[in-house]
């Protein structure tokens, strides 16, 4: 009649884990917005679109507390905020029951200089959406659609199907409301990048960063873009270490185990080999 945790489909785990996170958030008075994936669903994405994890945007002041609670509840960190991406915005965590989740401490492309303000903007218009028969906090429909487009700005031009779907299916009024919201949330650069119009922003702060992430450019352009937007010598040196030292989180995922010192050393040295090969 019933069984426990055998062959539970991925989608079931994901739907139920939204409820899990909302329950944790509510019990601990942590402000969390469920973003992307199945929680956005059919009012934002094309039918049948699959998802592989849960994404949460957390009020910046609540991030550390949430992560600590999750670690105590059986989650482990796969990538840290500092090593997850060039935006250093999300940490990927894993639980044997629930699977993968990305904890966002801010959303790249929205209100860069003030993630607290950006979260509050989204939070103030949030809706409660039922998922797995549990009410979860998620951005308004307009904000959800904007987040999807802004997120697509981080993809290469041939991988922006979600934005194209919205362009093809929304009315002009609906599209205008998203454009308007992109200005209110100071997200024009990411928004225009997703639409292939990044050159409208040439010379602006973060232009090079979005150029580097959305187009095929040499690695040094990305490094320069990151350095350009990093204030202070100490922070720049820290960034250089991150760029040139081996990302042990990513290496661990690649190897399937925590890398040994010799594996880290081998990876570090292999970069020089690659460089010599290129020069020869």
């Amino acid at each position: 009649m019933s069984e426990v945790q055998q062959d539970i489909p991925l989608k079931a785990r994901i739907l139920l884990s939204h409820a899990y996170f909302q329950n944790i958030a509510t019990k601990n008075k942590i402000d969390v917005l469920h973003i992307k994936g199945y929680v956005f669903g059919a009012d934002t994405y094309r039918p049948g679109r699959l998802s592989s994890d849960v994404d949460l945007l957390v009020r910046p002041a609540h991030v550390d507390r949430l992560v600590n609670i999750l670690l105590e509840d059986g989650w482990s960190i796969l990538t840290h905020f500092e090593t997850g991406s060039i935006f250093e915005h999300a940490s990927t965590i894993y639980h044997p029951t629930w699977g993968l989740a990305d904890i966002h401490r801010y959303f790249p492309g929205l209100g860069y200089e003030d993630p607290v303000w950006a979260f509050e903007e989204l939070w103030s218009r949030r809706r409660h959406k039922e998922i797995a028969n549990f009410f979860c906090d998620t951005p308004s429909i307009i904000d959800a659609r904007l987040l999807v487009i802004v997120h697509n700005g981080r993809s290469k031009a041939n991988n922006r199907a979600d934005t194209q779907y919205l362009k093809d299916t929304l009315t002009s009024e609906e599209w205008k409301s998203i454009e308007q919201r992109s200005r209110e949330l100071r997200a024009e650069l990411a928004f225009d990048t997703a639409l292939g119009n990044i050159e409208k922003h040439k010379g602006e702060p973060y232009y090079l960063l979005w150029k580097a992430i959305s187009e095929d450019v040499p690695p040094f352009v990305e490094w320069w873009a990151r350095l350009e937007r990093t204030p202070g010598l100490t922070a720049k040196l820290d960034l250089l270490k991150k760029i040139f030292f081996v990302n042990t989180d990513h290496l661990a995922m690649e190897l399937g185990h925590s890398p040994s010192q010799s594996e880290i050393r081998e990876r570090f040295i292999s970069r020089f080999r690659f460089k010599r090969t290129n020069l020869s």
């Binding site: 009649m1 019933s2 426990v4 945790q5 539970i8 139920l16 409820a19 944790i24 029951t97 028969n133």
Partner: protein
């Protein structure tokens, strides 16, 4: 203590119909406190659905019998056995 039973607050559930490659009539139930997921099918899934509102055991037996076109006495033992299992797993609580 009340005789009314209801689903525990810290549970969630998803229907197999919403999930690709999942048999129809299946319900995945999660205990959000313990991170356990249970898979209910057949009469178990029906009983879980009938627990939408707080209900007594006797009323539940009556509804299960009506759903399956059986006499209450025929399904009584199996229903009570399942409900007691839910209570012992803390998936049901008294309202």
């Amino acid at each position: 203590m009340s005789n009314l039973l209801q689903r525990a607050n810290e549970t969630a559930f998803a229907f197999g119909e919403d999930i690709e490659n999942s048999p129809d009539g299946t319900i995945y139930v999660a205990d959000l406190r313990t991170s356990e997921i249970f898979c209910f099918s057949g009469s178990a899934a029906v009983i879980w659905c009938l627990l939408d509102d707080a209900i007594t055991k006797e009323k539940l037996i009556e509804l299960v019998a009506e759903t399956f076109g059986e006499e209450p006495s025929t399904i009584r033992a199996e229903t009570l056995n399942f409900v007691d299992g839910l209570i012992s797993q803390n998936l049901l609580e008294r309202s």
